[in-house]
């Protein structure tokens, strides 16, 4: 009896310790500086957007030929990174990958913040944003743009639900630890989850809902990025005229999403001291997945460039020459080498899959992926089939103005700010699931 009592006491103590470790914490000095920097970028971005609203899209570097600049590159980047929610949460959950539990919420919040800013940046790209509703009122169902609008809003709601359902048991824990939160947050926890009592019936309903969500979010996630790729591929232009674009975009999205999760894993592990929960084993396993995704994306890249290079039709030749040896070559080779080849080489070795090298590889993948999206959008627009004659010099090239940079950087900062605030308010690792897994391990032991 004494042993049993001691065991129960130990379990209770372990649980309490886990809860203490996983509860959200107040920002320290570094957290405050980080938040202030992000907020400052957002304010500058908002001012730049005010200027764009006031003067029109003429403040950007976009003209008649390059009508999609870094806003659309940024949009494709956000859509790509949002795919990670379905990868980590849905696919791993359906495949019973137990080790992914500490990573699921990180993936979900990255997905939600990315999809929010994907929607915002597309409105920013509109010359007349007050006409946004016309998309719904006068939208043509034949247009991939309308498909994108439908699928993005659907994915947004599904991601919110996938974030919310697994959060319910944690909300109860958060509400119980009133002393650890302020009045505002406590009110929020109660508003969102006071009805969660943890009964068997509630768990059954929640589990079923999560399973349905995991199943349905995968095709929707595939759709969101396939449809985004079709915005380009349904247009007959050098660099976009491909039947492979859907798969090419999805493989790239999985890679950048996984890279983003690796970076977030490292940062949260360091800042919140979560070494017990996000272990080198997680980095090792994620590293292997990232290698696979790098090779997959590299394969699609070779496919995308080799086939047109083999045929070398005149407009394709100009486009490919610009990418491989022309003015876009430095960015192109940076995206390929830094964004794909170097991470693959690094992560092939066990030492390369330790937390710090993984973090560096993750940064390389994410930065490389952003420039890769720029390369997908802009060089093609600068190589139309008909020669560019009798046009102002500014139409012949494209470089973003400070307003575009400020808005693009502001949107990236905004996405990071959403993740930062979420991590301040909610636990970044699912507390209830982690405790449950620990109990299962103990019982097995």
């Amino acid at each position: 009896v004494e042993t049993t009592l001691l065991s129960i006491q130990d379990k209770a103590a372990t649980k309490q310790q886990m809860v203490e470790e996983l509860l959200p914490r107040q920002f320290g000095r570094r957290g405050m500086i980080w938040t202030a920097i992000l907020a400052a970028f957002c304010v500058v971005g908002a001012y730049a957007y005010y200027r764009q609203l006031k003067h029109g899209l003429v403040v950007t570097g976009m003209r008649d030929y390059v009508s999609w600049g870094i806003y659309i590159s940024n949009f494709v980047f956000f859509v790509a990174i949002s795919l990670v929610g379905s990868l980590i949460t849905a696919i791993f959950r359906l495949a019973n990958v137990a080790w992914s539990t500490p990573l699921t919420r990180i993936a979900e919040i990255i997905a939600v913040s990315a999809i929010i800013f994907a929607s915002i940046i597309i409105v920013v790209d509109m010359g007349r944003p007050e006409r946004f509703m016309n998309l719904f009122i006068y939208g043509r169902i034949q247009s991939p743009i309308l498909w994108d609008v439908i699928v993005i809003s659907t994915y947004f709601f599904l991601s919110i639900l996938l974030l919310y359902f697994p959060l319910l048991p944690d909300l109860k824990i958060l509400a119980r630890h009133k002393q650890k939160s302020n009045k505002l947050f406590h009110g929020l926890y109660r508003f969102l989850g006071s009805f969660w009592k943890g009964t068997a019936a509630q768990f059954r309903l929640s589990e079923r809902a999560i399973n349905i969500l995991c199943i349905i979010i995968i095709p929707v996630a595939f759709c969101i990025h396939t449809v985004t790729s079709w915005l380009f591929a349904t247009t007959y232009r050098p660099g976009w005229d491909s039947t492979n674009f859907g798969a090419y975009f999805i493989s790239g999205a999985f890679l950048v999403g996984a890279g983003g999760v690796v970076v977030a894993m490292y940062v949260f592990r360091k800042v919140y001291r979560l070494e017990r929960y996000i272990t080198p084993m997680h980095f090792d396993k994620m590293g292997k997945i990232v290698v696979l995704l790098c090779l997959l994306y590299l394969y699609f890249n070779i496919n995308e460039y080799l086939v047109p290079a083999f045929k070398m039709k005149k407009p394709e030749e100009q486009h490919l020459s610009e990418l491989f040896t022309g003015s876009f070559a430095p960015v192109f080779w940076f995206a390929i080498v830094v964004g794909m080849i170097l991470p693959t080489i690094m992560l092939l070795f066990k030492k390369g899959r330790r937390p710090l090298p993984m973090f560096i590889a993750g940064i390389m993948i994410v930065v490389g992926a952003w420039f890769k999206r720029y390369l997908i959008v802009t060089p093609t627009l600068l190589h139309p089939f008909l020669p560019m004659h009798d046009v102002p010099a500014s139409y012949l090239h494209y470089f973003p103005t400070w307003e575009e940079w400020a808005i693009a950087i502001g949107s990236l900062a905004g996405a990071l700010l959403v993740i930062t605030f979420f991590a301040r308010i909610f636990p970044v690792i699912p507390i209830h699931e982690t405790i449950l897994e620990q109990h299962e391990k103990d019982e097995q032991f």
Binding site: T154, A209, I212
Partner: protein
């Protein structure tokens, strides 16, 4: 060493003087040539457009840098018949051209004779002397019609010239026959040019079957005499229902992927509705589950 530099300086001064002398000797005639006025080439051409007022085209050019370049802003006067009637005082444009329409006040003098001479006089200007050129023309008519009863569609052009008070056939006149198309003229027959016979006629078979016409299927045929020494430039037009009326494309009115929003293909609408209903139905179901969870807890 000092001696050496002194000798060098003397030598250089001598060379400099020698080179300067050579340059001046070469440059003086060149400069003198530049100062001489260049030759202005002035020309006048007579045009009778289809259904329009006859006009004279004045051009002022000069051979500059081995090319014939326009000389703009040249003041000129145009007279008719030995300086007796001044038709126009004008100035050429940036292209060295000016159009002078035959004014109404010369009608009496114009009708009095079958032939007239136009005299162009350009005033002297910086770099150019005054010039004078003449153009003698005989009044002519260009008639275009179809040949009735011919096996194939045949066109007939007739050129008549005025002699005394009589319109007589003009033979051996070269002309072109075309169809108006896309702002230019498409050859109507097989041959590039036609020449009138002694009766003043020239015929050609119409070789452009199924040519798109206007809404009624009409096409405009054009007969044209260009730069004829005796008659100048004459144009006449004739509208014929020998074209094909265009049938507007029905592509936008049928259900297709490229049609307007209300003409989307049924299969696409059905597929879209099916997918949206399935996915959003699931979302609604999940929200219902959430409501049920809420109900269980309260």
């Amino acid at each position: 060493m000092k001696q050496y530099w002194s000798n060098m300086k003397k030598m250089n001064s001598f060379k400099l003087l020698f080179a300067g002398g050579i340059f001046l000797a070469a440059a003086v005639p060149v400069l003198a040539q530049d100062a001489e006025p260049k030759e202005l080439l002035s020309a006048i051409a007579y045009h009778v457009p289809a259904n329009g007022v006859p006009y004279l085209l004045v051009t002022t050019t000069s051979k500059l840098e081995k090319r014939l370049l326009p000389v703009p802003r040249v003041n000129f006067n145009v007279f008719m018949d030995a300086d007796s009637i001044i038709i126009s005082k004008g100035i050429t444009d940036a292209e060295g051209k000016a159009i002078v329409y035959l004014p109404g006040f010369i009608r009496q003098a114009w009708d009095a004779s079958a032939s007239h001479t136009f005299i162009l006089h350009t005033e002297a200007m910086k770099g150019f002397d005054e010039t004078q050129s003449e153009l003698a023309i005989t009044k002519a008519k260009l008639l275009l019609d179809t040949v009735a009863g011919a096996e194939a569609r045949t066109l007939r052009v007739r050129v008549l010239k005025l002699e005394g008070n009589e319109w007589l056939p003009a033979g051996d006149v070269e002309l072109k026959l075309g169809v108006k198309r896309f702002g230019g003229e498409l050859l109507a027959g097989e041959e590039e040019t036609l020449t009138t016979d002694s009766t003043g006629y020239a015929t050609a078979e119409f070789a452009r079957a199924q040519l798109p016409g206007d809404q009624a299927g009409d096409i405009i045929l054009v007969a044209r005499i260009e730069d004829n020494e005796q008659f100048g430039n004459l144009v006449t037009e004739h509208k014929l229902a020998w074209g094909v009326a265009p049938r507007p494309s029905q592509a936008g009115n049928e259900r297709s992927l490229w049609a307007t929003r209300d003409k989307a293909p049924v299969w696409l609408i059905a597929a879209a509705i099916f997918i949206v209903v399935i996915v959003w139905g699931t979302i609604v179901f999940l929200v219902m589950q959430l409501i049920q969870i809420r109900r269980l807890g309260t």
